[in-house]
Amino acid sequence: MARLDVAGVTVRFGGHTALSKVSVTAEAGSLTALIGPNGAGKTTLFNVITGLQRPDSGRVVLDGHDITRLSPHKRARHGLARTFQRLELFTMLSVRENIGVAADVHRSWAPRQHGSLDERVQRIIDLTGLGDVADTRVTALPTGQCRVVELARALACDPKVLLLDEPASGQDEAETETFASLLRRLADDGVAVLLVEHDVQLVMEVCTTVHVLDFGALLAVGTPAQVQANPAVRAAYLGHLEEVG
């Protein structure tokens, strides 16, 4: 059974159908991508999974628990963590404090942990390579690094399922490279990673399964190779990529 199972989710905003019966799964220890043009409904789907948006129909099952009706913080306590496309960092705090808040809250609902809070935070800072800027206020960081801070903050909750919303946007090539190896490492640790990303190269490189969304509907699912070969996908999405070069 998949770690995360999203089945038949529909969301309507007034007359506009943002998602139409979308089903997506993410397996433990693997990287799954969710791609599609702007406005395809990727972030809305993330919001449905994390409870920030109530679906009109459909269910979200995490590790066999139906979490569709739970509030966002209760879902998080089932092991769900995410980052945001529009950064949601705590602007009055430093990088270390941003991660610390998450680790502190996490410890309040998952008390049995090894090591002190400070050690845990330091471990995450080391893992994500934020050591140089650990005590800088986050507003002073470039976007690319802010995205890493968001990831680090999500990791502080020891998630089973990690939803990353365009984590590589704003990063340069070297940063993306480091980021890709970090993602692989997370998957190796058994985390199910669901990735929304416009950097198709990154997606094809690291992900085992790719879901393609277009106009709120699921267009295709498969391995990167299958998806790349899918004519519908080429027309809707990857076609543009070829034109660009």
């Binding site: 994390t50 966002p72 949601e88 960092l89």
Partner: protein, 714 residues
């Protein structure tokens, strides 16, 4: 049945007035995002203006009313939009709320300054004494008929205006998506201006219709807005038709309570409190909203350093000791309020500054603390602790229904709670042996700890100083703690906090209770200082200036508590002694401070504190300055001169010390360090500056010549 009909008409005419007033409120909230707490005050000013024209100057009813409705009120609305509201775009909800509360306070102050409350004024209803007789026992006055007809006309006109006219459609478009409307060529500022003009006219209409029954009293009329909130809350502050339904419920309820409530002193306050109870009920059933994501705000409250906090606490303690040992008895009682009410102000720092929540009823919690302390304490520490606990519990109960809704509803709930206490609960006679203020006032014994009784004004003041200093230290510790960072995180992004498992309602409830408890402590200390208190000491309208000054001082800084306490109970009362003409302006001043400082949301306290940095960092000058102040104090204790001389002497000493420290910091002739991006702007380019810039940009290999830089060549 006849009685029923009569009170139905009474209720309908009240509904009509609420409908008119609250539709104006909804209009501005929906089109400009400003929840105008001062909306009722605009109606109040209009009612006074109408009285001035009609009664005082003898202009006939119709021209006087038309002049107010179609000239004065719209002009005032446009003025508000141009001068104040336009500057609020892109500020947080709390800031906008502060500004509109400041307006409310300033407008009440203005009305009282122009039309002295000591003079009785009456406005007669339209067609006084004439009525339409329906059956032998049932009749409806012409005034009631006109009121109901007006509401119907307003409803129809608003409907036609908003759906059939180009401007009305533009107004609705602005509600949906302001930037998009702007891109479509609608001048959104014009739309905002129009909606302020229109809504002020609606407030004026409501004011003129209600003044004959409600009476011409600035505070009463301004607080009618609370009844209109209840109606507006039905429509989630956005839907006009539902707002009209809400107005019907509130108005008819009011009418029937007037007719059928048994004559009992205990229930007498229920009728004025009824709209507020409706509001609470609506808050309970309103659906939760989506979690708020990050809001951009210009506010920044860094954590205080331990050394800074220690210095601050030492300065307060010294200040308190100097006050307590130099003031006369009555003055000591008056100025001790600085610290007791200062604790109430300080209680807003964790809530407003750290957690970004708004409470407008801190002084009511203080009142509860005071009453409980008086009833339970008998001068024991346990009594004070009980008052803190009770205030915290009541705070939790008040906040709970609205914590899952957005900040504006919490503000509404707290405002309403204060009104319920003012209008009803604080005035209740004894029920089952308990009343908050039996026989109007309440006496309280001074505190005794370990056999030591704080029974003189001086001891009371020292007690308050110690408590204030301890609470300041507590707030600093909170800001530096994990819990404090959690609150700051919550203020920034609810959505992010929820996604790592933070129970938002729980976290907010915690800080709200903490803050209410602190306010309770402040209240019980205040009661002990005054030794006898009344409900009037804790009214909503006395609490609002406190809230404004805390925000104006910088709600996230611990010094905001002192700023508000000193401002309200030391600086403001001293003003008239400088120039007696200021007496009339005095009530308006906090409002003006709030309006002005709404534009600099991080507040003034931080600026003041920053300006002292040179002095703090210069140990030599600092020691001399402190010694100088000590000398002034010592000579004062010898009764060589009075308090004014001592204070002026101390202030001059500190200013001289500050000047000296600043000069020592930057010796004459030393080159000023100019940030890279300002080089070439703050001073002309020089070869060495260009070299510095190249080095900073790692451009050694591609160095440009100075002339190329000067001519902008590439």
């Amino acid at each position: 049945m006849d009685k029923f009909m009569i009170f139905t008409f009474v209720g309908l005419s009240t509904s009509a007035i609420y409908a008119v007033i609250s539709s104006g409120l909804v209009l501005t909230y929906a089109t400009t995002g400003v929840f105008n707490v001062a909306h009722g005050a605009a109606g109040m000013l209009s009612a006074f203006a109408y009285w001035q024209l009609h009664v005082a100057w003898g202009i006939p009813t119709l021209p006087a009313a038309l002049l107010v409705l179609f000239v004065l009120a719209p002009l005032f609305g446009v003025l508000l939009e141009r001068v104040i509201m336009r500057g609020l775009a892109g500020t947080t909800e709390a800031t906008r709320l502060v500004v509109s509360i400041s307006l409310l306070v300033a407008m009440i102050g203005l009305a009282q300054a122009v039309w002295s409350p000591a003079v009785g004024r009456v406005v007669a209803p339209f067609f006084e004494g004439r009525q339409l007789t329906l059956t032998r026992d049932v009749s409806i006055t012409y005034h009631q008929l006109i009121t109901i007809a007006t509401a119907v006309v307003v409803a129809v006109c608003l409907k036609v205006f908003l759906t059939r006219t180009r401007t009305g459609v533009a107004m609705r478009a602005v509600v949906d998506d302001r930037p998009l409307t702007l891109l479509n060529g609608v001048r959104t500022d014009r739309v905002a201006q129009l909606s302020w003009a229109l809504s002020t006219s609606l407030a004026a209409l409501g004011g003129i219709l209600i003044v004959s029954s409600a009476g011409l009293n600035a505070a009463t009329l301004s607080l009618l807005i609370v009844n209109a909130y209840a109606a507006a809350a039905f429509g989630r502050l956005r839907s006009l038709p539902l707002t009209f339904v809400g107005a019907l419920v509130v108005g008819l309820g009011d009418g029937y309570l007037a007719g059928y409530l048994p004559q009992d002193q205990r229930l007498a306050g229920l009728r004025p409190a009824f709209p507020v109870l409706v509001l609470f009920a609506v808050l309970l059933v309103l659906p939760s909203r989506p979690l708020r994501t990050h809001v951009r705000s210009r506010e920044y409250f860094p954590a205080p350093s331990l050394r800074g906090a220690a210095t601050y606490c030492a300065v307060i303690a010294a200040f308190g000791v100097v006050l307590a040992t130099t003031l006369s008895g009555p003055d000591t009682i008056a100025y001790a309020k600085v610290f007791a009410v200062g604790i109430v102000a300080l209680s807003l720092v964790p809530l407003v500054g750290f957690a970004g929540q708004v409470s407008l009823c801190q002084l009511s919690f203080a009142g509860i603390g005071a009453a409980v302390a008086a009833h339970v304490s008998k001068g024991t520490l346990l009594g004070v602790v009980t008052s803190v606990v009770v205030a915290a519990l009541v705070g939790g109960l008040v906040a709970l229904p609205s914590l899952r809704l957005s900040g504006i509803y919490l503000a509404l709930a707290t405002l309403s709670f204060a009104v319920v206490l003012d209008r009803w609960l604080f005035n209740l006679p004894e029920i089952a042996g308990f009343a908050f203020f039996p026989s109007g006032s309440l006496d309280i014994q001074p505190l005794t700890v370990l056999g030591y009784t704080f029974d003189t004004p001086r001891r009371q003041m020292l007690l308050a100083v110690v408590a204030f200093t301890a609470m300041s230290a507590l707030v600093v510790a909170l800001r530096r703690s994990r819990y404090g960072r959690r609150l700051l995180a919550l203020r920034d992004s609810e959505a992010a906090c929820a996604t790592f498992g933070l129970n938002l309602v729980g976290a907010r409830l915690g800080v709200f209770m903490l803050s209410a408890g602190m306010a309770g402590l402040g209240g019980s200390l205040l009661a002990m200082q005054q030794s006898s208190i009344t409900a009037a000491d804790f009214q909503l309208l006395s609490g609002l200036p406190l809230f404004m000054l805390v925000v104006a001082g910088g709600a996230g800084f611990v010094s905001a508590g002192l700023f508000a306490g000193v401002g309200l109970y030391a600086a403001l009362p001293l003003l008239p002694s400088l120039w007696s003409g200021l007496t009339r302006v005095q009530p308006i001043l906090p409002g003006i401070v709030g309006i002005a400082l709404g534009r600099s949301p991080s507040g003034a306290a931080a600026d003041v504190s920053r300006s002292f940095t040179p002095l703090r960092e210069d140990a030599v000058v600092l020691s001399i300055t402190v010694a100088g102040c000590g000398a002034w104090y010592a000579v004062r204790l010898l009764d060589v001169f009075g308090n004014p001389t001592m204070w002026v002497g101390m202030v001059v000493t500190v200013l001289v010390g500050l000047g000296a420290a600043s000069r020592r910091r930057r010796p004459a002739g030393a080159a000023e360090v100019i940030a890279l991006e300002w080089q070439g702007v703050d001073e002309p380019w020089s070869a060495s500056r260009v070299a510095d810039l190249d080095r900073a940009l790692r451009l050694e290999q591609t160095r440009m010549s100075l002339s190329e830089v000067a001519h902008g060549a590439t």
